[in-house]
């Protein structure tokens, strides 16, 4: 299987259309000029829109952008980030070098690696943003790598996520704290747990979490997959899953399509233990009346996989300056504190508390996290995302093993 990314694109189709020389691109170092250029622009922000809370937050940010910078922000609502990637790819294919329809795209990991590898991104620009300093990236290396791929200024951090488990404290007393306990727990609580079907992101993350816990040595997971070692490294994972699946809901004959379905199953009492990639999800579910108020979240004993969500600008974006201003605004203390509010999004901040002034820190401390939200302390140890190769390889191996009987 040709797994390696294809090289630089052929100019064959692009040559069919001759293009005028590219106009001057905005230089984020000269920020005042970027702000001037951005004023009056319309920024099309392509972002997954499956969460009403996130949609409301983006709507709030759009209002702020209009009043603060005179930039109009339109949320292009995607059901799958791949739609945005498809669009940019089609534009590249047709030689559209300057009139792209996507100005800012919420991407992560694999999509980022793909877009960067195929020359679909504009940059570098992110590290020159005025608010980049608030990340204290030198001490927080996760701000400079996306699934181990070096970001190199091609995308700007936005929110932080981490794998958490949640359970109904009314029926479960001692939820399992690691994978081995999980297996035992499911054996005595048959059908009370399941996980989304890979390659659904949350399901794949569960696989990576399990592998990080079960693998003899996690070091190879941070390098590209070496096919000859794949079987031996992943053997403990498959052994674990083989034992786990008969104990799952529907005995592992069908898996939910994602985190939302899992949340619904929890609300319906079909399961009593679930997982999420958002530490605020359980709390949001309680507030929305979808989960019983007795639900609580926790992180496995050894910590869990966490990552940072990023924003990227496609190579042919029309409103690059506006997109930078939006990315910078979303990194501001004001925007990050607003996102941290569980009534809004409950999203953990990417900002480094150490880099903030006392007054700025107070903004965060004043916010009361909900009963099911985990404080930054309770989130514990964040495990780094393995190399994106692993995600892909695990997904395909899982589908091969369990996806088609």
């Amino acid at each position: 299987m040709p797994r390696r990314m294809r090289g630089a694109c052929s100019a064959l189709l692009a040559c069919l259309i001759s293009l005028p020389a590219s106009a001057a691109t905005p230089e984020p170092a000269a920020w005042e000029q970027v702000l001037r250029e951005a004023r009056g622009q319309t920024v099309y922000f392509d972002a997954w829109a499956g969460d009403p809370q996130i949609n409301s937050y983006i709507a709030w940010a759009a209002q702020q952008m209009q009043s603060l910078y005179g930039v109009e922000v339109t949320h292009v609502k995607l059901s799958d980030t791949a739609e945005g990637v498809s669009r940019v790819l089609a534009e590249k294919l047709a030689g559209n070098e300057r009139e792209g329809t996507v100005d800012l795209l919420w991407v992560n990991g694999e999509n980022f690696a793909t877009m960067k590898g195929n020359g679909l991104l504009f940059g570098p620009w992110a590290e020159q943003l005025p608010n980049f300093a608030l990340l204290d990236a030198d001490r927080n290396p996760e701000m400079r790598e996306d699934f181990t791929i070096a970001v190199e200024g091609y995308e700007s951090p936005w929110t932080r996520s981490q794998l958490v488990f949640y359970y109904d404290s009314a029926t479960v007393e001692n939820p399992p704290r690691d994978m081995r306990e999980l297996l035992q727990w499911t054996q005595s609580n048959r059908g009370q747990f399941t996980y989304p079907r890979p390659p659904v992101f949350l399901g794949s993350t569960f696989l990576k979490q399990a592998l990080l816990e079960l693998a003899v040595d996690s070091a190879p997971l941070y390098r590209p997959v070496e096919p000859e070692q794949f079987a031996s490294i992943t053997a403990p994972l498959w052994e674990f899953l083989d034992a786990l699946h008969p104990q799952l809901l529907r005995a592992g004959r069908s898996f939910p399509g994602g985190g939302t379905e899992l949340r619904r199953m929890m609300g319906d009492g079909e399961i009593s233990l679930a997982l999420s990639f958002s530490p605020a999800e359980a709390n949001a579910g309680i507030m929305a009346g979808e989960l019983p108020p007795t639900v609580r979240s926790y992180v496995p004993r050894g910590g869990s996989i966490g990552n940072v969500s990023f924003l990227a600008i496609p190579f042919n974006a029309q409103a690059k300056a506006g997109a930078m201003v939006l990315a910078n605004f979303l990194l501001s203390v004001q925007a990050q504190a607003h996102a941290y509010d569980p009534q809004v999004m409950g999203s953990a901040t990417v900002l480094s508390m150490a880099a903030l002034s006392a007054a700025e820190r107070a903004l965060f401390e004043a916010i009361e996290p909900g009963p099911a939200t985990l404080t930054p302390q309770a989130l514990g140890n964040t495990l780094r995302e393995p190399h994106p190769d692993w995600m892909d390889a695990l997904e395909r191996a899982w589908v091969e093993r369990y996806g088609a009987r």
């Binding site: 392509d46 829109a49 009403p52 945005g84 294919l93 690696a113 939302t260 319906d268 009492g269 979808e290």
Partner: protein, 570 residues
């Protein structure tokens, strides 16, 4: 006989079929080519410059592929088989009864519910934690948590097929009811009854052989849709493995862009599966015709009448009941607060989901209406131009016009990506005009499908008579044909509106997401939304088609309230 003609309008009309075909087929063909070239390894922007078959090898090595193909084929055959038999049995058993008249009225609102909305309704009804189980738990079965049984997403896609059957029954009923008056079923049945056959059997023996050829194309459309559905499959279909269409979609959406090649190969395979389903159906047709002839020639008169009559009524009745139950499940969920499982009804009711949705609805609603109305109007004008030109030429259109149905048969995913590239090449900005054009590609074939039979079967004596009274072809068109065909035209428009409203990929991909519609909002929110949000948006999506069908039903009644002869003409 050559008619003298000098007016330019006439020439334009004569060219109409060709023009419509070009407008419609050019983008599909271009899109298809640009999508399918990668199947053979050609996609320069990703470094594919040599033709190769490796991607087919990779495709066929996909685990579970054969099962995916099998499920797609099964759904593609089971759906038309069940839906068509039930529709025919129902019509046979209820011809001329109150039940039939009642069904005529019900058919439209059932048809108005978009496929995805109906699928969600079904899931909300029959899932282990669905409305049905909640209503009977714990009183009837003692359960206090949902049973751990696999109903939705089953391995063979039977729930998916059931969802499709429920949705296609009203479509085929509408098509059959529109075609029936032209073959005068009453006379046929009367003759057979005078020979001693009981009514249901008489109908099946004498009407079906004449009716089937008239609804053959709609049946083919059902096959094509069922074998390649993406949305219904995602909601109700199996996921270990997925159906082929969903696999293709996921390959197209794979972050690893090299999977575009496999996706293209998969799209081609999907096309092959759809064609295979159609060919198998031809076989079933031949088999059915043979068995039917044998049945008729045996001349049995008595036995089985009650079974035949009741099975159709039961089947269609159940389908209607489940559809209505699904809508009810959507309604309840749209107002539900937290709803613990064994409770028969939600513990709390809330307006929050509705009020939030209604606050965001203005722009998507306006876009949806504009796109649906303009694409429908264009489609109606184009279809009328083609049919009128056929009338005036006095002969059937060339078989090449069957290409008109290409967009119904080719899986959308197989040419939409290519279509984006094509519009990019042409430097057509992704705006509402382009989206309307993309919708037209799907709306037009359905409009043609719904209207053509009625148009062609209109008693030719009406226009001959008008001509001998001195009316010009245009006067005949406007003053005779249009009024007489108003009801079928409005029905076709309602179908067209429903088709337009339900378009997701054509709106989202072609519009670059900049033209939000009710459906794009619904799908985006459904990708992460709760049951309440899904329910609200599914109902909102059904709203416009519902209005369209209501108008199509009541406008002719209002206009012709003093014209008894206009009733029952269609």
């Amino acid at each position: 006989m050559a008619l003298a003609n000098a007016q330019p309008a006439k020439h334009a009309l004569r060219l109409a079929p060709t023009l419509v075909l070009i407008v419609l087929i050019a983008p599909v063909a271009l899109g298809l080519a640009l999508t399918l070239l990668p199947a053979f390894g050609y996609l320069p922007v990703l470094g594919g410059e040599r033709l190769t078959l490796t991607y087919f090898a990779q495709l066929f090595a996909t685990p579970g592929l054969s099962h995916s193909v099998a499920v797609s084929l099964l759904a593609g055959l089971l759906t038309p088989l069940c839906a068509l038999s039930l529709v025919l049995l129902f019509l046979a058993g209820t011809a001329g009864t109150r039940l039939e008249r009642w069904m005529r009225r019900l058919v439209a609102p059932l048809l108005a519910i978009p496929h995805a909305a109906a699928a969600f309704g079904l899931a909300f009804l029959i899932a282990p934690s669905g409305l049905f189980m909640r209503l009977i738990s714990p009183q009837l079965n003692g359960l206090d948590s949902p049973p751990d049984v696999l109903i939705v997403n089953d391995y063979w896609g039977l729930t998916m097929s059931a969802g499709l059957i429920i949705k296609e029954i009203p479509f085929l009923l509408l098509m059959a009811l529109a075609a029936l008056p032209q073959i005068e079923p009453d006379k046929r049945v009367a003759i057979a009854r005078s020979l001693g056959y009981r009514p249901t059997r008489a109908w099946l023996m004498t009407v079906v052989p004449a009716l089937y050829p008239l609804i053959r194309l709609p049946v083919y459309a059902v096959i094509a849709f069922a074998s390649a559905t993406v949305d219904v499959s995602l909601i109700l279909g199996p996921n270990l493995p997925y159906t082929l269409s969903v696999m293709v979609l996921q390959w197209f959406n794979d972050p690893d862009l090299s999977y575009r090649f496999v996706a293209a190969a998969g799209a081609l395979l999907q096309l092959g599966v759809t064609i295979a389903a159609l060919l198998l159906w031809r076989l079933i047709e031949a088999l059915g015709a043979g068995l039917g002839r044998r049945w008729v020639s045996r001349g049995e008169r008595g036995a089985g009448e009650a079974v035949l009559r009741v099975s159709g009524q039961l089947g269609v009745g159940l389908a209607v009941l489940v559809s209505v139950g699904g809508v009810l499940a959507l309604l309840i969920n749209s107002f539900a607060g937290f709803w613990r499982f064994p409770d028969n009804l939600p513990g709390a009711w809330t307006m929050q989901t509705w009020s939030r949705a209604l606050g965001e609805i203005a722009q998507p609603l306006a876009n949806t209406l504009l796109i649906a109305l303009v694409s429908t109007a264009l489609a109606i004008v184009m279809v009328l131009a083609v049919l009128e030109s056929e009338q005036r030429a006095g002969r059937r259109l060339s078989p090449s016009m069957l290409l008109l149905y290409l967009p119904l048969l080719v899986p959308q995913i197989a040419f939409l990506f290519g279509l984006i590239v094509a519009t990019e090449f042409l430097r057509w900005a992704p705006d509402i005009k382009l989206v309307i054009f993309a919708h037209l590609i799907f709306v037009l074939p359905y409009t043609f499908l719904t209207l053509a039979e009625a148009y062609r079967r209109l008693d030719p004596r009406w226009s001959q008579l008008a001509a001998t009274l001195g009316a010009s072809p245009w006067r005949i068109f406007w003053r005779v044909r249009m009024p007489l065909l108003l009801a079928p035209c409005l029905t076709a428009a309602a179908v067209a509106i429903a088709v337009s409203v339900s378009q997701y990929l054509a709106t989202q991909l072609i519009g670059a997401g900049r033209v939000p519609s009710l459906t794009t909002e619904a799908v985006a929110l459904a990708s992460g939304g709760s049951r309440g949000i899904i329910a609200v948006w599914a109902l909102l999506q059904a709203l416009i088609p519902m209005l369209g069908f209501a108008l199509a039903l009541f406008l002719p009644r209002l206009l012709w309230r003093n014209r008894r002869g206009m009733r029952g003409l269609h």
